[in-house]
Amino acid sequence: MGMTMTQKILAAHAGLPSVEAGQLIEADLDLVLGNDVTTPVAIHEMDKFKADKVFDKDKIAMVLDHFTPNKDIKSAEHCKCVREYACAHNITNFFDVGEMGIEHALLPEKGLIVAGETCIGADSHTCTYGALGAFSTGVGSTDMAAGMATGKAWFKVPSAIKFVLTGKPGKWVSGKDVILHIIGLIGVDGALYKSMEFVGDGIANLSMDDRFSMANMAIEAGAKNGIFPVDDQTIAYMKEHSVKDYTVYEADEDAVYDETYTIDLGTLEPTVAFPHLPENTKPISEVPEIKIDQVVIGSCTNGRIEDLRVAAKILEGKKCAKGLRVIVIPATQAIYLQAMEEGLLKTFIEAGAVVSTPTCGPCLGGHMGILAAGEKAVATTNRNFVGRMGHVESEIYLASPAVAAASAITGMISDPRKM
């Protein structure tokens, strides 16, 4: 029986000629990731191991991105714990304030993950690297500890849903709109335990940044991973960012899929997910008049250079609506610098937005943009659960950078195509 792309990567890392859905395997890991929230718990678990050593100091990444720069004493203690551990164990890829960025933008940018590799991360959005044709998935802190110690993880081989993407997205329609549309279609548990495999000639019309934001949100449909085939754009990205050898895997012709959806990208509109689930999507033409209090442009979903370029293009020469707070967060130091050199930061500041150092901050209601009771935000982030960005009576509308920028000007959820 044929294998999916994900199954082929897992089989190769388990040392097996083939695997099938449902099979329990132990796979070798190429990268194990943690952040300042999840790594302290993993370090605590590491104490229980008989030997105090990591499997490979070059294959572990620790990124202090959630509550940094430290928001309070307790988070400072967490970061200190990770910093001391990383130093004591010579962790090569430890990223502290000054070097750090939002982990899922940072790791591909630093070339730490490439096509054909396997990665687990103690952060649910680790699925982002599927954009590069890698198998990567989110786990908890204990799995991270086990991965750090042994270089292995157990997996139940997933079945898959195939998404055949055709056509070309229209103006101001991005990867974010495509993935929100898909989550609206299949629901927040529509791909539970499964892979989401994206194929089709429409992928050529999606940039790497589009693909990162799509793979990033596979978890919002419950998926184990989301994965894209490797094409010229992927290879160009990897050559620019990484010195690692990559391996290209392709699904077999006779691979079995639980379901197949065909989506013509040309038919999609900018899409918004209403509170309090990412599946509550509406095309922008069906969104009523909704006044907002805050806009957040950033996160591991949409804090990359292309996202900032789109937002700046819409905001150029315009002013943010009176009474609205607009927060722009470049995802990494390199993106921050590039945005500065391209004049994007000037555009944001002149429009009345604030620009922050890289941090996950507001996306998870950590710091840097918490909402009060009754407040509404348009955010380019990935979750709009109850209380996610602050008070339980606040509301988050998930959207693309284009919708967020258009909304920043009007103070209402707005269609960028009408600006």
Binding site: K48, T126, G365, G366, R383, F385
Partner: protein
């Protein structure tokens, strides 16, 4: 091994942000996390919960963030088992890895109500609703996961190998 307690019931898609909001993730101490468990969906939970109580929910329990603090908070609050129609996959792994018993059983999850007295026999996978006088068979774990549970978590399991 058996669990016996009063049921706290929740609906679909209970996410890990409502189980333990991120504003409390600057701590990783189980007792401290337990003080704010379920705060954004059920602020009175921490006052009602008694040692041994059982949590029952509908589909996709534990979706969202991979924070292991969620099953840690539930376990430290005194909950002896979570029954759901389905679990989100990261929560499922985390619960097994830290030794919080969980059972997938759609029939039980749908029928059992808040306040019911429920008993669970982990060896047989049987769930008894003492209040309603009904019983259900939960889905058994694959042997590999049973080994992890028996070892009281993944790290001990690896150490024992």
């Amino acid at each position: 091994m058996k669990a016996h307690g009063t049921v706290h019931k929740y609906g679909d898609n209970v996410d890990t942000d409502v189980i333990i909001p991120a504003r409390y993730l600057n701590s990783s101490d189980p007792a401290e996390l337990a003080k704010n468990c379920m705060e954004d969906i059920d602020p009175d939970f921490v006052n009602r919960v008694k040692q041994g109580d059982i949590m029952v929910a509908n589909k996709n329990f534990g979706c969202g963030s991979s924070r292991e603090h969620a099953p840690i908070a539930i376990k430290a609050s005194g909950i002896s088992c979570v029954i759901a129609e389905t679990f989100a996959r990261i929560f499922y792994r985390n619960a097994i890895n830290i030794g919080l018993p969980i059972i997938e059983c759609p029939e039980a999850a749908k029928a059992i109500e808040a306040g019911d007295e429920v008993e669970i026999d982990f060896d047989s996978g049987m769930i008894y609703d003492k209040t309603k006088g009904t019983e259900y068979k939960g889905q058994a774990f694959p042997p590999f996961m049973q080994e992890i549970i028996k070892a009281e978590g993944l790290i001990n399991y690896i150490n024992n190998k």
